[in-house]
């Protein structure tokens, strides 16, 4: 049973037909070709599938694609502005905040959700913002430093 679905994907209006029970992660990856959110567990424990829906972080593997009708969905693809990196992306690079890179899209979206609402987070708030994202490689310190640095860079340039 295919149902029509229209929503804004990284600023573009898209329209597709989805199987009713399809999750958003599958719809993004396989139907829209946006492979930036990743499958890590399908259970809500790892955060690799984190996307923003109307600006708030959600786990796309647990979200019904049908439920984003008329809403705005942002993934990592939306962070870059042409060739220019978002301060978060630049900060992750500067702080070596990735190794295998698999958690990185989810981490960046979780961080973006934080900074979009709270441009001056404390370290504790950064830790809480990424508390739903698992990284098996870096030990998290570099990621936390990167988010704090990005916040500072962003405030400095604003």
């Amino acid at each position: 049973m295919m149902i029509p679905l229209q929503f804004r994907h990284n600023g573009r209006d898209v329209a597709l037909f989805v199987d009713g029970a399809t999750n958003l992660l599958t719809a993004l990856r396989e139907q829209l070709g946006d492979t930036t959110p990743k499958f890590g567990c399908g259970q809500g424990g790892c955060g690799a599938c984190t996307v923003l829906i109307d600006g708030a972080s959600h786990l796309s593997c647990l979200t019904l694609a049908a439920s984003v009708e008329g809403r705005s969905v942002e993934t990592l693809e939306s962070l870059k502005d042409g060739p220019r990196l978002h301060p978060l992306q630049k900060a992750f690079m500067d702080h070596f905040a990735a190794q295998c890179g698999y958690c990185t899209p989810g981490m960046l979206m979780a961080a973006k959700a934080l900074l979009d609402r709270n441009p001056n987070p404390t370290r504790t708030q950064v830790v809480e913002a990424i508390s739903g994202n698992i990284c098996r490689c870096t030990g998290y310190e570099a990621i936390i430093e990167a988010v704090l640095d990005a916040a500072q860079q962003h405030r400095a340039s604003a």
Binding site: R29, T35, F39, G45, C100, G101, Y102, T104, L108, C137
Partner: protein, 515 residues
């Protein structure tokens, strides 16, 4: 950033460090932060099918009957693959380097040996249709006695886990049921000791839990070949393993990998590629086989648990004179890489310390658990845990500071190691000294002045004549009145047909590196 202590061993190298001490950016970092880095599952292929595996619900059982009739008729099912469909259904990973006997089926045929072992693969249009078909498969298990403990597995009469190894241990050099290390005279060493302590150390199996699970996508390519996108850490290894299992020349495959979402050793076992490729061969379509998280935990290999018995004899002046190690690696139901881990374990004994009498025995044991494999220094790290805990306990027994105790016993250049090679390029002493400095842990002046350099060891305190820190001995001299034979270089293996995949021998596995 990084602090570089150039003054250490300055005479042993050129001072032209251009890269050490500087942060160097990963070549894929830009890809990681922009989402451009491509993992195997980021490939979308037209008409892709989904493969799911029915797994054993028993840790040890005969498979009396597998009834696929209803499942084969299930909507959306393209093909169901059984053990009989796999061209060469028995393999062991290191057969590529002529090490080990083929012991593990890709799909179980008459017996299952661990919970989660693959029995049948269902290939369907959608994952849910595969699950629905799986629910219609009937498997008749005849449960068998199980064994989950390494020492129980070695007792006479224990259930035989894997008939390839009827005594539940891996066989080395076609003769030995464990790996040995002998140096000096262990009983004389204990007799000379003022204190003897013995402890048992136990590790649990540890799951790599990479954020990306194991998986692969295989697809027919245009010229009779197959293209395979895979999460493997070892592209050539996996390619050759698949060539063997599917009995085709290795140039049949084009393996594409490169960006792995975490490995740590958990993506070397070539767990999914043989079936995804076989499914692509049988259906003529692209096929994806990705492990779910529960599957990854249950079926994909963990680091094998190790049980280690360490018995040490130490003199009151702090010198360890005897170390006896008996250890068991729990390989689970099949070998995978555990056999090699045990070789590394023995090669590592007795740790970075000069001990004149060493006795090591390490077993690779089969039990009805998930087969274990490589993970971050497997074979070495667990033994180090045991050794270092023991070093602290020994220091306490002799009333010495644990840092000083390690410096005292550390090997130095020129010391004879238990493997009958001279230690070279040692630096443990300097590491401990700097660590103590960094931790503001006071150590006495004489220990701060000790050095790894040749000839720098302070002579042992004089003792009665009967006690000698054994000097290097000619390795070939047989020991009197002992039935045990010292290890020899491995015999040349019997001539075998050259493997179709062209793998060559990897000498250190045989323990006889020739320069």
């Amino acid at each position: 950033m990084l602090e570089v202590r150039k003054e250490y061993f300055a005479d042993e190298r050129d001072d032209n460090l251009k890269e050490i001490g500087k942060g160097t950016q990963r070549q894929d970092m830009l890809g990681h932060v922009t989402g451009a880095s491509t993992y195997f599952n980021d490939h979308k292929l037209q008409g892709m099918l989904h493969l799911k595996v029915l797994r054993s619900e028993q840790p040890h059982a005969r498979l009396r009957r597998i009834d696929l009739t209803e499942a084969e008729r299930s909507p959306g099912v393209r093909r169901i693959i059984r053990g009989q469909d796999v061209p060469r259904n028995l393999n062991t990973l290191l057969s590529l380097i002529n090490f080990g006997i083929d012991d593990e089926p890709t799909l179980a045929v008459d017996k299952v040996r661990y919970l989660g072992e693959p029995i049948v693969a269902v290939v369907a249009d959608t994952p849910r249709e595969a699950y629905e078909a799986m629910a219609k498969i009937r498997v008749d298990y005849e449960p068998l006695p199980t064994v989950f403990d390494v020492e129980e597995a070695l007792k006479p009469g224990a259930p035989v886990v894997n008939e390839t190894y009827p005594k539940n241990t891996f066989t080395y050099h076609e003769r030995y049921d464990h790996q040995n290390l002998r140096f000096g005279d262990i009983e004389r060493g204990f007799a000379e000791a003022d204190h003897i302590i013995e402890h048992r150390y136990q590790m649990s199996p540890i799951e790599h839990a990479t954020t990306e699970t194991n998986g692969s996508i295989a697809a027919p390519d245009t010229n009779g070949r197959y293209i395979v996108y895979t999460s493997t850490q070892a592209l050539f290894f996996s390619l050759d393993t698949c060539a063997k299992i599917l009995d085709v020349p290795s140039n049949t495959f084009h393996f594409v990998g490169g960006t792995v979402g975490g490995g740590f050793g958990g993506k070397v076992d070539t767990l999914t590629e043989p079936l995804s490729i076989l499914a692509a061969m049988l259906t003529g379509r692209p096929v994806r086989y990705v492990l779910g998280r529960e599957e990854e935990m249950q079926f994909a290999s963990p680091r094998g648990a190790e049980r280690i018995y360490l018995k040490d004899g130490v003199r009151r002046d702090g010198r360890i004179v005897a170390r006896k190690v008996r250890a068991y690696t729990d390989s689970g139901a099949y070998t995978r890489l555990s056999s090699y881990g045990v070789v590394k374990c023995v090669a590592h004994l007795p740790g970075p310390y000069t001990i004149p009498n060493v006795h090591g025995e390490v077993f690779c044991v089969f039990t009805n658990r998930t087969p274990a494999t490589a993970m971050r220094g497997f074979g070495v790290t667990a033994m180090d845990f045991a050794i270092e805990c023991q070093m602290d306990r020994l220091a306490e027994v002799v009333g010495m500071d644990p840092m000083e105790f390690r410096i005292l016993n550390a090997y130095r250049d020129g010391d004879m190691k238990a493997h009958r090679r001279e230690a070279k390029g040692t630096a443990l002493i300097e590491c401990v000294q700097v660590a103590a400095e960094k931790a503001k842990w006071p150590i006495r002046e004489e220990f701060r002045r000790m050095s790894s350099r040749q000839g720098a060891r302070a002579p042992a305190a004089p003792r009665e004549e009967r006690i000698v820190i054994a000097p290097a001995r000619a390795p070939a001299s047989p020991e009197p009145a002992r039935a045990y034979e010292p290890p020899r270089p491995a015999p040349a293996p019997p001539p075998q047909p050259a493997p179709a995949h062209g793998a060559t021998r990897f000498s250190s596995v045989f323990g006889a590196r020739r320069r």
